[in-house]
């Protein structure tokens, strides 16, 4: 019985939920940074490729450890999400014959697992592709005598394909769903709920989801329409 | 049989204090060796079980509910009295004592009532320490309100859910002891018999309601806290599960039943709408703080209430009782409502209702203040009647609510069966012929928290209690008789649901032994009840078996007991040829329907001894003496 309180916390329903929420918040902030970087695509190949080179080459002593924490947060988030969902299903072995809902919450909460699973697949496609160059060789370009990966070219090449852009846009819709519930929900999980601020929290949560997913979607669609340019 | 109330000597103020010193104690190390059974987990039962376990006794707690928190104490709305005198309005222990004796129409024991008044203040202290969220003022101190039968504000409350909060306090204390292993909790067990071994009450027989198994439990002492018998009237404000079974079975084993005819008819309930109803809903007496009771002055006035001008309204309580107004005691308010309805002044479709009007209070205090005080009650009324009481006056009518009668107990709360203690509504002790509002919670908790922990120790320390096992023939006999009765119910195989007989019984009880009683009517009832009982045992249909959860069997068993008990209630009412409190005998009145007590002949507790079903019970009288409150005709004018 005499469990270390921290170990007990990590295995408790509330503890895990809070870790899930906090890892989610961390990933959301990453998305904001990622989006800011991607907007650079709009200013052309040289700018974007140089930015990527700066991050992954010049600043690699900083960025690699950060990437490791992102991977850890992501894996933890996915692991807990799946584990908690399995437990939740088990908590109601016999389902209701009639299902109905009274809650005033939007529909987003209902699709957290589905959207999460889709996003997992998305990440398994996206990261190996653009970060690791696994599925196809990413070419190189040289600016001012410095050779670097042509991520801009690779992106343009792939977004020119309609099905690829469509996959991304659908994934962003799931991301919207995940964020729209997740941001506010993670705050509730760590105990930030106050009637005076709840409306604001809900608004910011939705607005954040709109900005992030809107931004990524706009870039993907922009890239699609750049084909042949 | 001589009924020894064991009231200690000395002045009324010092009796309890002195007696606490006189009582024998059980050594702390020996307490664990004493097993005590507590049946019932309402205010009295839960508080007793928790307090006894805190002292170190080995307590076994039984409830027929799925959880101790379901007991019907939970439904008490208005509040709990205590002589704290926080509002500085002249309250004192003596005044609470005086009000309660007078409110009970001089049919309670002075010594018991004084003890209750003394303990009242400790109850509030203890409940606040438990975290009961009583209503507070902005300054952070406790708020009080007024209740019927008192001219001071001494009622503590937690919105309209005081009973719930007090019960949860007791329940939490009980569950704490369960967690500590000091109380063994037995839920879904219905007590069906007490076991008497060599003159001492040594155990109970219960039915496990899930498996149907009959279980024997032995102990050094048994505490019954199983509530009242209001459901003998079928329609009442009681929960549908409330029953007389535990106390009735104890009565059949020899415990005397005292004053069964003292039943309280609560003035402010939602009126009956049709035959299908399973229960009536109470609207807290606290509503009479701000609501004004009235009917139209002309019989048959069918105008809607807002169309009736002030000059054509009859505020009958305010006019007849100017000093107490709408806050007269319950029996007085109920009887007056009945009278105006009998005169044809009643309102609503059935004509059996009076208005309880908040429009003046809403004008004076604003809707928000009223909502804060009574919001949940207004909402409940709206749900049930589909009418909004903020806009139209409530319609109310009296309904059976509480039973002052119960098993006879002495000052130690022990019945005439040694070892069998009875607490709360199940005993007869403190309220006399009428209970004042907000006193039931006080009594249940006084019995459980502050009286039984002392007196049961005295019993255990001063009696030799030999070891018994559940193999003892008395246990075998008791279990067999329970089994036989259950088999008999299952064997009738008629075609009528038990509920039909319950409704018939209830109608007889209400018509002939309700708010007003007379000799001719009571005779009819004494005739009718055995007939219904006979028909029950020929025609009832109890489906299923005794081997699993069988609610039809449970219900039929309880109704069978009501069919026996109802006869005793009527017999008591028949024998008491006086009006007092909740018992209004039409032959005994003065002026316009004011109750007339007969102290020469009836200043006693009527304690009945069981002589067999259908046999006339034997009456034993415990005379009542009033040395501290002068015996007078009550007046609230």
């Amino acid at each position: 019985m005499a469990k270390n309180p921290v170990t007990a916390y990590l295995s408790s329903s509330i503890g895990r939920k809070q870790i899930m929420g906090l890892s989610g918040v961390y990933l959301y902030f990453f998305l904001l940074v990622h989006l800011a970087g991607n907007i650079g695509m709009l200013s052309g190949a040289e700018h974007f490729n140089s930015y990527a080179y700066l991050l992954l080459h010049t600043l690699k002593e900083i960025i690699y450890p950060v990437e490791c924490t992102l991977v850890a947060a992501f894996l933890l988030h996915v692991y807990l999400g799946i584990k908690v969902t399995i437990e939740n299903r088990a908590a109601r072995p016999e389902r209701y014959a009639v299902n109905a809902s009274k809650a005033k919450q939007g529909p987003y909460a209902k699709y957290m697992f589905v959207s999460g699973m889709w996003l997992l697949i998305f990440v398994l496609v996206h990261v190996p592709h653009f970060r690791m160059g696994l599925y196809s060789e990413i070419g190189t370009v040289t600016y001012d005598g410095v050779e670097m990966r042509d991520l801009y070219g690779a992106a343009m090449h792939f977004f020119a394909k309609g099905w690829f852009t469509a996959f991304y846009v659908i994934s962003f819709l799931f991301l919207f769903n995940h964020l729209a519930h997740g941001v506010g929900s993670s705050l509730q999980s760590v105990g930030l709920n106050h009637p005076r601020y709840n409306a604001a929290i809900q608004f910011i949560s939705k607005a954040y989801a709109v900005v992030i997913t809107g931004g990524f979607t706009a870039i993907a669609i922009w890239a699609y329409f750049q084909r042949g340019v | 049989m001589i009924l020894d109330s064991k009231i200690p000597p000395g002045s009324i103020e010092n009796k309890w204090t002195d007696y606490k010193f006189q009582m024998k104690l059980v050594n702390p190390a020996n307490k664990r060796k004493h097993k005590i059974i507590v049946v019932g987990t309402g205010l009295a039962g839960a508080s007793a079980a928790a307090s006894l376990a805190e002292l170190g006794y080995n307590v076994h707690s039984f409830t027929f509910h799925d959880s101790p928190r379901r007991a019907h104490s939970i439904a008490a709305q208005g509040g709990i009295n205590a002589a704290k005198n926080y509002p500085n309005d002249g309250d004192s222990v003596h005044r609470l004592f005086y009000d309660t004796v007078k409110g009970g129409d001089f049919r309670a024991r002075e010594a018991n009532v004084h003890r209750l008044a003394e303990i009242s203040t400790q109850i509030i202290d203890h409940c606040v320490a438990q975290g009961v969220p009583f209503a507070r003022e902005y300054g952070g101190l406790l708020d009080n309100r007024s209740f019927g039968g008192a001219q001071v504000s001494r009622t503590f409350y937690a919105r309209g859910q005081t009973g719930q909060q007090l019960l949860l306090g007791a329940y939490q204390s009980l569950m704490r002891q369960v967690g500590l292993g000091a109380v063994k909790l037995h839920t879904r067990r219905e007590m069906l018999d007490v076991v008497v071994v060599d003159g001492q009450t040594r155990g109970i027989i219960v039915r496990n309601l899930v498996t149907g198994e009959l279980e024997r439990h032995e102990a050094d002492a048994v505490v019954l806290a199983t509530g009242g018998y209001g459901r003998v009237f079928y329609l009442s404000t009681n929960a549908v599960g409330c029953n007389v079974t535990a106390t009735w079975r104890a009565h059949k084993r020899g415990a005397l039943f005292a004053n069964p005819c003292f039943t309280q008819i609560h003035p402010t309930c939602i009126p009956v709408t049709g035959d299908h109803q399973s229960k009536l809903t109470l609207m807290s007496e606290s509503l009479r703080n701000d609501g004004r009771v009235w009917v139209p002055k002309t019989a048959g006035d069918k105008r809607s209430p807002e169309k009736i001008p002030e000059s054509e309204r009859f505020y009958f309580l305010e006019e007849k009782y100017p000093s107490f107004g709408n806050l007269v005691p319950r029996d007085v308010a109920s009887r007056n409502a009945k009278q105006v309805c009998d005169q044809g002044l009643g309102v609503g479709e059935t004509g059996l209702a009076v208005y309880l009007d908040f429009s003046d209070a809403i004008k004076r205090l604003g809707k928000d203040k009223i909502a804060e005080k009574y919001g949940n009650l207004f909402q409940m009324y709206d749900k049930i009647t589909d009418e909004n009481p903020y806009q139209v006056p409530m319609r109310i009518y009296p309904a059976v609510h509480y039973t002052m009668g119960g098993l006879w107990v002495d000052y130690n709360l022990m019945s005439n069966l040694p070892g069998l203690h009875v607490l709360g509504e199940a005993n007869f002790s403190d309220h006399g012929a009428n209970r004042l509002g907000a006193s039931a919670l006080m009594q249940g908790l006084a019995d459980g928290y502050f009286i039984i922990p002392h007196t049961i120790g005295h019993y255990l320390a001063s009696n030799k209690i030999p070891k018994v096992t559940t193999d003892h023939p008395a246990f075998v006999d008791a279990e067999n008789s329970v089994k036989a009765r259950q088999d008999k119910l299952l064997a009738v195989k008629g075609n009528k649901p038990a509920m039909e007989f319950h409704r018939q019984l209830g109608k007889v009880m209400w018509d002939y032994c309700g708010m007003a009683r007379n000799e001719a009517g009571l005779k009819i009832a004494l005739d009718e009840i055995p007939k219904i009982r006979e028909a029950f045992w020929k025609e009832v249909s109890v489906t299923g078996s005794g081997q699993d959860l069988n609610m039809a069997l449970e219900e039929a068993g309880r109704i069978a007991d009501f069919l026996e008990f109802g006869e005793l209630l009527v017999l008591d009412a028949y024998t008491r040829r006086e009006s007092c409190g909740g018992h209004f005998r039409e032959e005994s009145q003065v002026g316009e329907g004011e109750a007339l007590r007969d102290d020469n002949n009836f200043c006693h507790v009527a304690a009945w001894e069981f002589k067999g079903v259908g046999q006339k019970s034997e009456l034993h009288k415990e005379p009542l003496a009033f040395d501290n409150v002068h015996l007078t005709q009550r007046s609230y004018k």
Binding site: I14, A100, G191 | H65, Q165, M551
Partner: protein
């Protein structure tokens, strides 16, 4: 209002916890609109008894919305569609004439079915037993007015304490989580000075017990709040989350004490 209604009831029948259940269809006619839902079930049962069949087991007691005994899922909603209402306070005037009404028990691993519509909710008692109390023995309490309590704190404590322990929150939660029930008690006592000495220990122990008993995890869907007949707010869940985090990670309660009984 005198028009009578008729309904098709689909009632869940299940012999015991180990048996498979199924729906039984019963037609009800001539139901007055001001009859309560449970009174209609009483009538259905009386009809069954007259036919010599076993009535449907369902629980109720006070029938005024305070004891928490009644526990029916009506057309997929615990306690039915009315907000802030127990099923015993649900009236037939709220249904359309001719409607089909499906009645199921609470469904949760932690609330196993005993028979038909009756479930075992003793898990709630175990959670209270783990810490849902103030450890004070009878006698020795200071004067009730010795400690002033801010009115808003007393009021919030009362909001939480209004919980009737019916389990509708668990029944409504897509994950059968008991968070609203547990948080109501944690928050009730946590808002009062009397609850402070045990505040850390209480939340840790109650959550631990809740987790042990097979309830699901909270996913902030707020179905509990919507189903709660006492309309208890999910704010209390947030508060418990906060208390639990602090108590577990930064709490000063001695670790040995965390595991000791009582």
């Amino acid at each position: 209002m005198n028009q009578k209604l008729s309904f098709l009831l689909r009632l869940w029948r299940q012999k015991d916890g180990n048996s498979q259940g199924k729906f039984q269809e019963i037609r009800m006619k001539d139901i007055p609109p001001d009859m309560s839902f449970l009174e209609m079930l009483d009538e259905a049962n009386n009809d069954l008894i007259r036919k010599g069949e076993e009535p449907v087991a369902f629980e109720s007691d006070c029938r005024e919305g305070i004891c928490g005994t009644c526990s029916l899922v009506v057309n997929g909603l615990p306690h039915g569609s009315d907000p802030g209402t127990t099923v015993c306070q649900l009236f037939m005037r709220r249904f359309n004439d001719g409607a089909t009404i499906t009645v199921e028990p609470w469904r949760a691993k932690a609330f196993p079915v005993i028979k038909d519509l009756v479930t075992d909710r003793s898990a709630f008692d175990q959670i209270i037993s783990a810490g849902g109390f103030v450890s004070v023995n009878t006698g020795g309490a200071p004067d009730a007015n010795a400690t002033a309590i801010r009115k808003c704190d007393a009021d919030t404590a009362m909001d939480a304490a209004a919980c009737i322990g019916c389990g509708a929150c668990v029944a409504a939660c897509p994950n059968a989580s008991a968070m609203l029930f547990v948080s109501a008690k944690v928050s009730h006592l946590g808002h009062l000075p009397q609850g402070q000495p045990e505040r850390e220990r209480r939340v840790v122990r109650m959550v631990q017990k809740m987790d042990e008993l097979g309830f699901g995890n909270c996913s902030n869907r707020y179905e509990c709040e919507a189903a709660c007949p006492k309309e208890i707010s999910v704010e209390h869940i947030a508060r418990m989350n906060r208390d639990y985090g602090f108590a577990s990670l930064l709490g000063t309660e001695r670790e040995r004490g965390n595991s000791g009984a009582g």
